[in-house]
Symmetry: C2
Subunit: 466 residues, 2 copies
């Protein structure tokens, strides 16, 4: 029996039983109390420390529950065998300071990502959220349908029918936290041997997702009017990923003739699918929206992916995917256990935003806002049409510049950077290994405001045209 050097602090915020527990635990850890040695009985220790028996009992119970000591019936408490050769002292709390991305003062960034939040209907959003967070809605905080709440899926279903001419049932719609997540699910739904064809250039994030998920991706080059069908037919792909309404980064619209060819290709053999990423089709500035590929197809082999990241806000992380019946069955069989990734509160908020007519109003407003910026840029470069060719216009949130001043893409970006303007290179969007057949500058106009566009283009001209 060993001598206790424990001094209890009655004024401490730490309860007495915790002080005893901590003391004995450390004595054991530091090897001061040997394994298998017997602890004083709770009664004896209580007397010794002049405290109540129950306090010691609590301390001992905790030590038992954590496996430091064990109670041997009719004999008492013994220290367990714990190999202490191995140091289990906790490390110091290390606070690595994280590098904040340095935002250059008055740098004008024509990023193709993000949206213009200047006109976001905050009051409406607050109002809707408040009503959703009503106590009567407490089930909003509970588990929901793993594919997404049926109310939101129905709203999306009607929206797709009216706005995109897409015919589906709410059951086919799968809600998910962003296109990245939904695409990883697709990777699980497809058999591992499925070969996926992607254009080059294409949306590189999607390309990376398929690659990091171990998918076999073949690259098909893009002609003037879209994916090269001969290459697609000869490459043995089972699935093809396209953006028919507005190609990223080219900004081209896939013509009806090519759409029909693509649908024919998909129908030629079983298990062929088209993934239609309709990421920013809400924004078309002249004429009416181009219908979705899925909208003109009768057959059930198009996976349609849409998102609210551009049409409402990227911070929300809400995307959706329309699964063909056959893939829906596979999803239910293989991935039924995946829980939903989008908060029910925000599902309900978006639902109300759509049903209340706010979404349509917001889209109309933003279409006007973006159209103005879009037209500004085109007008500003008109006088330089001999050197700067603009393409991908009339839709989306970015334009493509072909600058024929002898500079390479890197030189153009560097020169712009020197003048305090960040622009983005087209070549980033070509699949690894694929030969670059065209360079260019991507000019996003969602985040920049009109003053910045004016100033930014002035700086670009100085950098490129002097």
């Amino acid at each position: 029996m060993f001598a206790f050097t424990l001094v209890l602090d009655g004024d401490s915020k730490t309860p007495l039983y915790e002080q005893i527990y901590a003391y004995i635990k450390n004595e054991i850890r530091n090897g001061k109390i040997e394994c298998r040695s017997k602890l004083p009985s709770a009664r004896a220790l209580a007397e010794y420390l002049q405290i109540s028996r129950s306090t010691v009992d609590m301390a001992y119970a905790q030590l038992v529950s954590e496996g430091y000591i064990e109670s041997v019936p009719c004999k008492g408490y013994y220290v367990c065998e714990i190999s202490l050769l191995y140091d289990i002292a906790p490390q110091k709390h290390n606070d690595i300071l994280y590098a904040k991305e340095d935002k250059k003062e008055n740098l004008i960034d024509f990023t193709p990502n993000g949206i213009d939040l200047e006109y976001f209907p905050f009051n409406t959003w607050r109002k809707i959220t408040k009503s959703v967070l009503n106590v009567d809605n407490k089930e909003m905080f509970g588990n929901g349908d793993s594919m997404g709440d049926m109310e939101l899926r129905s709203s999306i279903c009607s929206y797709l029918f009216e706005a995109r001419n897409v015919h589906c049932s709410p059951e086919q719609i799968l809600i998910g936290a962003g296109n990245y997540y939904l695409t990883t699910l697709l990777c699980r739904i497809f058999d591992d041997d499925k070969v996926i064809a992607m254009e080059s250039p294409t949306y590189q994030r999607a390309y990376n997702i398929f690659r990091t998920n171990g998918r076999n991706v073949v690259t098909v080059k893009v002609d003037g009017d879209g994916i090269n069908m001969e290459m697609l037919k000869s490459c043995k792909a089972d699935v093809v990923y396209v953006m028919p309404s507005h190609h990223y980064p080219l900004g081209t619209v896939m013509p009806i003739s090519k759409r029909v060819e693509l649908l024919k290709w998909a129908n030629e053999s079983d298990g062929r699918y088209i993934i239609e990423d309709d990421y920013d089709s809400e924004f078309r500035y002249h004429g009416k929206p181009v219908p979705a590929l899925k909208g003109i197809s009768e057959n059930n082999n198009i996976i349609y992916i849409g998102t609210f990241s551009k049409s409402i806000a990227p911070g929300l992380r809400i995307s959706y995917m329309v699964l063909p019946e056959k893939l829906l069955e596979i999803y239910r069989r293989k991935l039924k256990f995946c829980s939903q990734t989008v908060s029910r509160i925000e599902q309900a908020t978006v639902r109300e935003f759509i049903e209340g007519g706010y979404f349509e109003r917001h889209l109309n407003r933003m279409r006007a806002v973006y159209r103005e910026k879009h037209d500004m840029i085109i007008a500003a470069f008109k006088e330089n049409s001999d050197v700067i060719r603009i393409s991908g216009e009339n839709a989306g949130l970015h334009l493509l510049l072909e600058v024929n001043n002898g500079m390479t893409e890197d030189e153009l970006i560097a020169a712009a950077g020197k003048n305090g303007v960040r622009v983005y290179g087209m070549s980033e969007n070509f699949n690894s290994g694929a030969e670059i057949y065209r360079s260019g500058i991507i000019l996003g106009f969602a985040i920049v405001n009109k003053e910045q566009i004016e100033e930014g283009i002035k700086r670009l001209k100085e950098a490129w045209l002097k």
Copy 2:
């Protein structure tokens, strides 16, 4: 040149240009207008229809943008080559009615999933959300840090330090929409050849995630005090998944001796990792919380996974993972492009919920609520201790019953069901292929209220003990 049979409806809500566009598009689709045939000039058609020239121009422009017709300079508009052999008529809008899960009247469901929302602080949550949705916070709607906003990660970091004795830096914390999502990311972070050891029984969802992500999972059986170390050492696993603070479904706490053995195993060779799923450690009813395994380890090979699904609400879909530096590097290299899956608004709300002290208060309250239910169940079965053995007590949101009345697990569940009580079988939690070494009944007590517990146990006794 063909005769136009188009009749415009001036009163229709559809603009004239759209009527013209739709008419010509359908004529082309139906083959009534042949490929390569020339359309009337915009001027001629405008005169013929007695409408303004610009209206026809708009219709033609839309047809061009969708690739139905093309403009040949100095010649006019021609119909494009479109192979129409293939029918592209849209299908009818089919509304499959979805089967609502039929909630049996007065069925008492002792599900281990979900939480008690009766005491959720709705007003606080509403208040916080409202402040987060302030216009000055508009960046909340923009793109955030892909690993999660640093503010929330810092709050979680401090919480883990205080509540779980876990030492890490905010940079190591990765926010994600639920454990499912974070675990799939882990599958991408680990090399494909890594072998993952899982206990049997274990949390089947995690097991399924590793399997559906093509991971090689080996099963290790569980002894009284946790994973069998001999089996683990002999099975060539690189990674082991455990729940040391409260095993699901067994409810056991891993004793310090086994924790030390596990840490030694991880240290014995490079590239070995322990995944610690600390899913419900916030709820411990007698004595103080058992420290996390990561809390006692100095070395950097424990991946800690925590969630707010039980401690705040499952509807939120917010989990977090502490990555060892080495894996953090791999994540940054391989998965930098993955966007965050949790809404920034809810990240900020949870952050404020923690920082404002509401989280701690809520946990204390819920601990008391759950303790009362937990104690109720144990007390109610006390008189039947000869037939019904309870284990996994003192923590979490479920108990384990061993019913020795001669009935099989299925018979017990069926008998309970006949009496209007849903209980869950232990055997569901054994890995496929692994021999079941123990049957039992899982009794979750989070969702049921006190009246239901009383009535439910009455019914269970009728079903099992008569």
